[in-house]
Amino acid sequence: MPSQAPTQALFRIWRGDTEGGRFQDFTTQVGSGMVVLDAVHKIQAEQAPDLAVRWNCKAGKCGSCSAEINGTPKLMCMTRLSSIDLSMPVIIEPMKAFPLLRDLVTDVSWNFRVKKTIPKFTPRAPDAPDGTWRIQQSDADRVQEFRKCIECFLCQDVCHVLREHHKHDEFIGPRYFVYTAALEMHPLDTADRVPDLRHKFSLGYCNITTCCRQVCPESITITENAIIPLKERVVDRYFDPLKRLFRIL
């Protein structure tokens, strides 16, 4: 990595739409502390006003500016240029697990449709006469980790079941396993989503390669803390030999 940031850098950005596209090269000034999204904005303001990029908070909190930077799914707003070798072109592409709309923007609406199919939060009756509950912080911790999710969909993008095998109709992806885990492990929730996990959401397709966990900008331990415990619940329910025996008897 160069110790002194160069003053100019080359960005190779995907331009195109549903009809097809190509990479376009842009050279621009780079400065101290800049992130990839700053460079894209600078190019947009000075050279390509119709360059499509989706963003909102520019602080790693909203999860809108997901893209693939030099082949790795990342948030553009949290990727410092100082972490990239600028002696080579910086390659910026849209996410590949979703249909392209234009340039760096993809149609992620599938994710929002999937969420609606997951049975909603269903609390137990309140603990206190005033309608409130008592929850220990230690019981909240586990679920609070999952609720850090900013819905950037980078985990969905990198998941081979979606990216390579296009199982969008059968499989809900890591984001929604984390979401389901947050509901299933919520100290107040009473609904049962285990049958759906097995039959409708195809949890079994996940072969725990941890790709999703590695790209999570919130460092949620997706595989170990969410997916594997859910798999254990499915196994306990459907594949425990003793329980099967009891069911037969």
Partner: protein, 604 residues
């Protein structure tokens, strides 16, 4: 006219942040057909960035708290220019609104006996902010989103409203376009709730996302609604100042709530040097008393770092101007120092302020558990907005409602931290409920297609001029730079007159803006269409700030540095005149009922 699709609703909500989603849930609960239009994807609205917490007098941490104390804190913070009815309803109803979120799945941090934990914040007498670390806004918007999607509401993601439609003075719906594909859309509606948030993008240094272009303010103004308190723009005292690309990014007040202190380049805690009269009896006399307050000592008073935002921002500004600032033009905010008082301080900081730890580490190479942060004021929140009825949230246009940041009244001249998230819940619910009542009581209005056609024609003009037109990004950039310099944290008459002249020039340039390409996800086009809203709110801010010849709350006039008791009895109303000119006039504050005056007296 260009083609468009039509989606009729009983109630149309514009905006899908906390206020919009809460309004949508309420309106849909009565079985009406409810549509939500949002400029972003669902769950990305600015609420997601709120950090510190939601203010509600739950009294879980300090049993002395109740709605009366919260009411008087809010009024004092707003310098008594608040709509007292809204301040009363807000303080009374916030606890129920927070508990309701828990029933919908929100998981706030807990007290040792398992109830919702509350933290200290500026201007709040007792620990009052329910929170989840420093990502409370994310928890709230996700809870409302995940609950809302099961209530039958229809969401139009990535759509912008260009104009509100009216029928003989009453609201009739909205017309806009789909940002993703560029199609035009018509939403006829019996009632419309504006929940579009603020105006931060009118300024150069801001904690706000691109969406905050004052759409609701400008749309309501053009539809004939009155705006109120437009001179009161909150500059949050602590935004990041370095590196340049993150300048303005918010550093939560929670840092100070957890014991963080402000120092100048000489190492002095300068906040002790200037404590306003209104807060003298409530402020710690020593550093030690301040520290004990942050650690829950009920006998101690709060440290001066937790004075109201307007005051802290001005003190920081003064230190920097006096040459006692940090290397990059801010001051030092130090949370690492608590290691002298607490074992495991680093772990404690990472647990209480995880996003701040992450943000500084990743974006500025600063470890906040070891070294101080550099911070300075950043444009953060708009107290002013659509003038609404305190109970129903209806504007002066029948059928047009407003809730959250786009509505004015609750916060007066300065908002307390934590009161915006509770505002969203309390008045989002009320706006949804009263908009639904209005929709049930009225038949469908007539939609004037000519109004929609004119908006569509105007929206397409930047393509006619193409790349030969003015660059919309350049106009926006210059506007932000000028507003920051001329109508920012310190204001003066001559500079504001200059700003008004420049705004005319910017308007002329905005009318010549051009963009290349086509209508699909064209950010240049989107920016060109944001300019008229930014220009309208910039003019309203400037004219109101010029008229108020005094300093109060968020408005600081260098040429009128003191408070004027007469202005203390007046709000400023902005409305559109018959010839399209902007009218600005003082409006007497409505007298407060005796029982509320008595509460304020008791709490002094």
């Amino acid at each position: 006219m260009p083609e468009y699709q039509t989606h009729p609703y009983d109630v149309l909500i514009v905006g899908a942040g906390g206020a919009g989603l809460r309004a949508a849930i309420e309106a849909a609960s009565s079985g009406l057909k409810v549509g939500v239009v949002t400029k972003s994807l669902l769950g990305k609205a600015h609420t997601v960035m709120a950090e510190g917490g939601v203010a509600a007098a739950l009294a879980n941490v300090d049993e002395r708290d109740n709605w009366r104390v919260h009411f008087s804190d809010t009024m004092r913070g707003g310098q008594y220019l608040n709509n007292w009815r809204m301040a009363e309803l807000h303080a009374r109803e916030a606890p129920d609104r927070v508990r309701e979120l828990e029933a919908w799945g929100a998981l706030f941090d807990r007290t040792s006996d398992g109830r919702i934990l509350q933290r200290n914040f500026g201007g709040h007498r007792y620990p009052r902010l329910a929170h989840v670390g420093d990502r409370t806004g994310l928890e709230m918007i996700r809870t409302l989103q995940d609950h809302g999607i099961h209530t039958g509401i229809e969401v139009h993601m990535e759509c912008t409203v260009l104009t509100l439609l009216t029928d003989s003075g009453r609201i009739a719906g909205a017309f806009g376009f789909d940002r993703e594909r560029g199609h035009f859309l018509l939403w006829p509606a019996k009632a419309v709730v504006l929940a579009t948030g603020g105006i931060g993008r009118a300024y150069q240094i801001t904690s706000n996302s691109w969406e905050y272009t004052g759409d609701g303010h400008a749309l309501a103004y053009r539809a004939g609604a009155e705006l109120l308190d437009m001179e009161f723009v909150q500059f949050h005292p602590t935004g990041m100042v370095w590196p340049p690309s993150v300048r303005g990014l918010l550093v939560t007040e929670g840092v100070r709530g957890e014991g963080g202190v402000l120092r100048n380049s000489e190492g002095r805690r300068f906040m002790f040097d200037d404590i306003p009269e209104l807060y003298k009896t409530q402020t710690a006399a020593s550093e030690d008393e301040g520290w004990r307050y942050t650690q829950g000592d009920k006998e101690a008073r709060r440290p001066p770092e937790l004075l109201t935002r307007d005051h802290v921002a001005r003190c920081i500004n003064r230190e920097v101007k006096a040459g006692r600032g940090s290397p990059h033009g801010g001051v030092f905010l130090d949370i690492a120092w608590i290691k002298t008082h607490l074992p495991n301080a680093a772990e404690h900081i990472r647990r209480k302020l995880p996003s701040m730890y992450h943000q500084f580490k990743q974006l500025a190479d600063i470890d906040i558990t070891r070294e101080p942060m550099e911070v300075g004021p950043t444009t953060h929140y708009m107290m002013g907005g659509v003038r609404v009825d305190g109970d129903s949230q209806m504007s002066t246009v029948p059928g047009l409602f407003a809730a959250g940041e786009v509505a004015a009244g609750l916060h007066g001249a300065n908002r307390l931290g934590g009161n915006s998230l509770s505002d969203l819940l309390v008045f989002g619910k009320r706006a949804g409920q009263f908009a639904a009542d209005f929709a049930r009581a009225h038949s469908a209005p007539a939609v004037d297609r000519a109004q929609a056609g004119a908006a569509a024609q105007a929206a397409l003009e930047p393509f006619d001029r193409g790349a030969a037109g003015e660059n919309p990004f350049q106009i926006q950039h210059e506007l932000q730079e000028r507003m920051q310099a001329l109508v920012g944290i310190v204001r003066t008459e001559s500079e504001m007159h200059q700003a008004l002249e420049l705004l005319d020039a910017f308007s002329a340039r905005a009318a010549r803006a051009g963009v290349p390409g086509h209508r699909q996800y064209n950010n240049g086009w989107h920016t060109a269409l944001d300019l008229p809203q930014l220009l309208t709110v910039s003019e309203a801010i400037t004219r109101a700030a010029l008229l108020r010849q005094e300093s109060r709350g968020a408005q600081f006039r260098e040429d009128f540095p003191g408070k004027d008791p007469e202005w203390g009895k007046h709000n400023i109303v902005v409305r559109r005149g018959d010839a399209g000119e902007m009218l600005v006039e003082p409006r007497p504050v409505t007298p407060m009922p005796a029982e509320l005056t008595q509460i304020i007296e008791e709490m002094k």
